[in-house]
């Protein structure tokens, strides 16, 4: 993952967005977590050739991102960077499935292209919903919500500690890379042996830091779990948000919204 350093900068940007304040930010992380999970399950539960009926689901991430004032450009860049796997696997569908499935006016459309479009729509919706959750909630709050929802304590602590140390060690790694680049004649990445020594030193330093950290935490009464600064509280707004989202997903899944709206429009046009 060579883009990791730029990605880490983006992590900071996302977390800065999550520190903002809006009605969406104020919702309980649990409500947003459950709604996001329901959104993703709804998206992937559609039959594989479906894509027009997926369109209404875009409302969920778009509304959250807009209400939380997250710049769409940042999310778009993320989606683009993450898209290769879905696109690479999906592009085989038009090759293997050439049976004509439907007609758009005079144009015959194969099942493969339909399912490829569906994969693209699925990718944008699922990844968009996850990013919307993070940008409007913040990693630490997502973890707190997960803990309240019953995730093992050790795992939640692990999530939080990883995040805490990510930036420190990444900075250290970046300094090492720079130092190596300045001293190497070829400008190429390190040879395997050199890499072993570089990464090994990083590992030893990380290990020592972990030991110091542990001693400091024990001195402050660490008992295996990190406590959030703010206790989560479930308000009526959270219940309404969750219920509304679930009702909307059910409507989209079983209501054939796009088809109905399209027919209505065609009739009005006639």
């Amino acid at each position: 993952m060579p883009r990791i350093d730029s990605a880490l900068r983006d992590v900071g940007a996302l977390d800065a967005l999550a520190a903002g304040d809006s009605p969406v930010h104020r919702l309980d992380p649990r409500a947003k977590l459950l709604a996001t999970a329901a959104c993703i399950v709804t998206v992937v539960s559609f039959p594989k050739h479906e894509f027009a009926e997926l369109a209404p689901l875009a409302l969920f991430p778009v509304a959250i991102l807009a209400a939380a004032r997250v710049p769409f450009g940042l999310i778009g860049r993320y989606l683009l960077l993450a898209s290769p796997f879905a696109v690479m696997v999906g592009i085989f569908n038009p090759i293997f499935d050439r049976a004509v499935a439907t007609h758009w006016g005079p144009m015959a459309v194969s099942g493969g292209w339909l399912s490829f479009l569906s994969i693209l729509a699925r990718f944008v919706l699922t990844a968009g919903a996850a990013l919307a959750l993070l940008a409007s909630t913040g990693y630490v709050n997502v973890c707190a919500g997960l803990g309240k929802l019953g995730a093992p304590r050790v795992l939640v602590t692990q999530f939080l500690l990883l995040y805490r140390y990510l930036f420190i060690l990444a900075d250290e790694g970046a300094r090492m890379v720079r130092a190596h680049a300045l001293r190497s004649r070829t400008g190429r990445p390190a040879a395997l042996r050199v890499w072993g020594s570089l990464a090994g030193h990083l590992l030893l330093r990380a290990h020592d830091r972990g030991a110091r950290l542990h001693a400091a935490m024990l001195a402050r009464g660490f008992d295996g779990s990190l406590r959030p600064l703010r206790a989560l509280s479930w308000s009526r707004a959270d219940g309404a948000f969750l219920a509304g989202s679930l009702a909307f997903f059910a409507l989209v899944r079983f209501g054939h919204l796009a088809e109905r709206l399209g027919r209505l429009t065609l009739e009005v046009l006639r």
Partner: protein, 360 residues
Amino acid sequence: MHMADALISPAVGGTMWAASAGLAAWSAHKLKKEMSETKTPMMGVLAAFVFAAQMINFTIPGTGSSGHLAGGLILAILLGPYAAFLAMFSILTVQALFFADGGLLALGCNVFNMGFWACFVAYPLIFRKIAGDRPGRGRLIAGATLAGVVALQLGAFGVVLETLFSGISELPFGTFVLLMQPIHLAIGIVEGLVTAALVAFVWKARPELVAPAASADPAVRPASVRPVLATFAVLALVTGGFLSWFASAHPDGLEWSMGRTSGKEELEAPAGGVHGKLAALQEKTAFLPDYDFKSGDNAAAEAASPGQPAPAEANEPEEQPESWPAVSAGNSLSGILGGAIVLALAGMIGLSLRFFRRTD
């Protein structure tokens, strides 16, 4: 190797989530029972180290291209399988949330593919067996490389199976296997070499970091094959339970995967009977009868374009033994139009939300 939500079905995603969550709960239980919290900060720091180590590229011997560390194996060697599994869980979660690498529903698959095989199969059954308690350099490299290769081959095969059972991708089993396995053979060798280089360095500088993981700490000593077998048993149970529940809620996904598997002759006897029953079930549970896109629309499409579907069907008779109803109501012209309108509406709602926020 990160699977995306776009390519998996709810049944596969849910099953793999159940497996990974179960393994995580079991690992957490093991860690709590058998040791104090000493490992907690170390797990966090070493997981962060895997991210940081990915920043340091290295030249792959012989090719000149560069690679990076994936991490499951080195974590297992330094932390033991249980802590390493939780650490991999956290790494993949951060990747899913922040990098959109792999989705939230696919997280279960990814944790299983990249965490389970490395921590609970490759490490205890291959690395530990080859490296032993007092490894020399040769054994270390041999053990790490072989373990890396096996972990990645199994993981890549998991990706193939999960994709196949999800049925979103049209890639035939054979093609996908031939695509995935050789690529991950190369990646696995590199992963093993890199892990060996790292372990060799640590072994020289601080042998106690590798050695206690090997012998002293009872929590780290894996209970051989028992966890592996238990996981597979649970996985089988969950698959059965989840799929059968799923069948009643949403027939077409399962029906399709059954049809696909029976076509591929991996699941032989029961497919026909279940298939027939499901078809009947599907008739009964059709959601909106007036949108009869199961058979009526198909017939209509064939009537509209006589002769056209026939040669296409003839091209791949074994692919689709009974013509899978590809047409769904939503993809007709009016469906597309409606979808476009909804998208535009969603965009407008987003813009207006933003506008109102600005004005106040």
